[in-house]
């Protein structure tokens, strides 16, 4: 691309090569063209600053370094090879500071390479086997250096939550010896059975049995004395180790869980209570209060003479008012 007449004149003036006639011509053009005038002023400003910028001093020792490395005749090739090796002889303060930041590892690898690749050295390193061994050594050092840098394989200090999966907490499990599912009426009861009895067995069997769990089955901190009494299950029935504190917390079984209100009259149907299930010893006079059984709960059809024997229901169980209600129905 060639310059226009105006651009050629600008260039000549900026270079100081313009004649008086050329300067006058440029002045005439600039006077009639504001954009050209702005361009000229901008370029002149830039040239003035470029010319005003001072030289940069070469680093001290540059000449000596060049002279020491140059071999004029017969060995000029060696001098050139040295110059292309990437190693600087002359260094500024900045370069020295930068080089000190390089790790010992880089220097060691470079040194090993220099030793291994120097073909002019006779002997073992000059052989193929020697080169192979040196190369292998360099690779081993490189791997060792990398492992120190990136911490691989990971040590035990820095692996939490990263590579090794977290270990789950597992409570001691019940063994076959710990769990003994005995008969419902037996004195031997399993751990689960004991807990069921304590927590929710105020159900259909009416088996809210006071004195059902011994202190050895559920520790005092687990169940409250109101729920568990010391007399029913023997210490041998459940291994104390099988019930961990984590399984039954004090918050799980509270005295409020089994209240008199939980046992409603509707829960005990005539069909579910057979004479054999409820023995006189199981139902104490204190279990059913007069307030629990209303006259409306027990209809004449529900309670047959065969169901409740005189021995089962004590005189205290049904109040005289209730009996009167039955009769009235």
């Amino acid at each position: 691309m060639s310059l226009s007449q105006a651009e050629t004149l600008i260039q000549a003036v900026l270079d100081g090569d313009a004649s008086a006639a050329e300067r006058a011509e440029l002045d005439r053009l600039l006077a009639s063209d504001e954009a050209l005038c702005a361009t000229f002023e901008s370029m002149r400003h830039a040239c003035a600053m470029l010319e005003a910028s001072p030289d940069v001093d070469p680093p001290p020792g540059l000449v000596e370094s060049i002279l020491s490395r140059a071999t004029l005749r017969g060995s000029s090739r060696a001098a050139t090879h040295q110059s292309l090796s990437g190693e600087r002889v002359v260094a500024t303060d900045a370069s020295r500071a930068r080089r000190t930041k390089q790790s010992w590892f880089t220097g060691l690898v470079h040194l090993l390479k220099e030793i291994g690749m120097n073909e002019q050295k006779p002997g073992f390193l000059g052989t193929t086997k020697g080169k192979f061994l040196v190369t292998a050594g360099v690779a081993a050092v490189a791997l060792a250096g990398l492992s120190t840098v990136i911490d691989f394989p990971p040590g035990s200090n820095n692996t939490a939550g990263t590579i090794v999966p977290a270990e789950r907490h597992r409570a001691p499990q019940n063994s076959a010896q710990d769990i003994n599912v005995g008969s419902p009426s037996g004195a031997q009861s399993s751990n689960a059975g004991a807990i069921n009895a304590a927590s929710g067995a105020a159900g259909s069997t009416g088996a809210v049995i006071p004195n059902a769990v011994t202190p050895n089955v559920v520790s005092p901190s687990v169940a409250s004395p109101d729920v568990v009494s010391p007399n029913v299950i023997s210490p041998n029935s459940v291994n104390p180790n099988s019930v961990s504190p984590n399984m039954v917390s004090p918050n799980m079984v509270s005295p409020n869980m089994v209240s008199p209100n939980m046992v409603s009259p509707n829960m005990v149907s005539p069909n579910s209570v057979s004479p054999n299930m409820v023995s006189p010893n199981m139902v104490s006079p204190n279990m059913v209060s007069p307030n629990m059984v209303s006259p409306n709960m027990v209809s004449p059809n529900m309670v047959s003479p065969n169901m409740v024997s005189p021995n089962m229901v004590s005189p205290n169980l049904v109040s005289p008012n209730a009996a009167a209600g039955v009769r009235s129905n």
Partner: protein, 182 residues
């Protein structure tokens, strides 16, 4: 730039005269280093290029064509070495603040500080430009070469050099618009 006895220095170097080579290095190391610094923007790289230039100079003395001036030949080697280094590195480094500016007689601390600011500002502007623009500005304004010599160094036609320099000056004017010279 002394050129009259450059051919004698070349002849001396060809004959293994180390004194001639020392004279040649002493004469051109500063402009070569400055040119390399302006193109590369890094003092260490400039030093590396300067060394490579003279060592390559020794190696290729037999290739030197005496119809061209010696400094044009040396500058060509320097620019090629610098561009090669830029291609090899392909990096964007922050401006090198480890450089030492040339002493100016009678310059006080304020003058030196101002010179430093100006030099850094111009170097930043240079480094933001295309390499071709940077090279032609360097050869013209920092090395003081004529259009003809620049054309020799760059293996280009003189009119091409003029056109490229015009554009480079325009661009530099835009980059330094906020500066005002003292």
């Amino acid at each position: 730039m002394e050129t009259d006895d450059d051919q004698a220095l070349v002849d001396g170097c060809r004959n293994g005269d180390r004194a001639a080579f020392a004279t040649l290095v002493t004469r051109y190391q500063r402009p070569i280093y400055n040119a390399a610094y302006r193109v590369l923007g890094n003092a260490d790289d400039a030093s590396e290029v300067a060394q490579a230039v003279f060592l390559r100079n020794v190696e290729r003395l037999d290739d030197y064509d005496s119809q061209y001036r010696l400094f044009s030949w040396i500058y060509r080697i320097a620019i090629n070495e610098a561009i090669d280094l830029l291609r090899r590195n392909r990096r964007e480094e922050p401006l090198d603040e480890g450089i030492e500016l040339a002493d100016i007689d009678g310059a006080g601390p304020e003058d030196r500080y101002r010179d430093r600011q100006l030099s850094d500002r111009i170097q930043r502007a240079l480094m933001s430009m295309k390499v071709e623009d940077r090279v032609v500005l360097t050869l013209r304004h920092f090395s003081g070469l004529s259009y003809k010599d620049i054309a020799v160094v760059l293996h280009a036609e003189e009119k091409t050099v003029k056109s490229r320099l015009f554009e480079a000056r325009q661009r530099m004017g835009e980059l330094l618009a906020d500066l005002r010279i003292r």
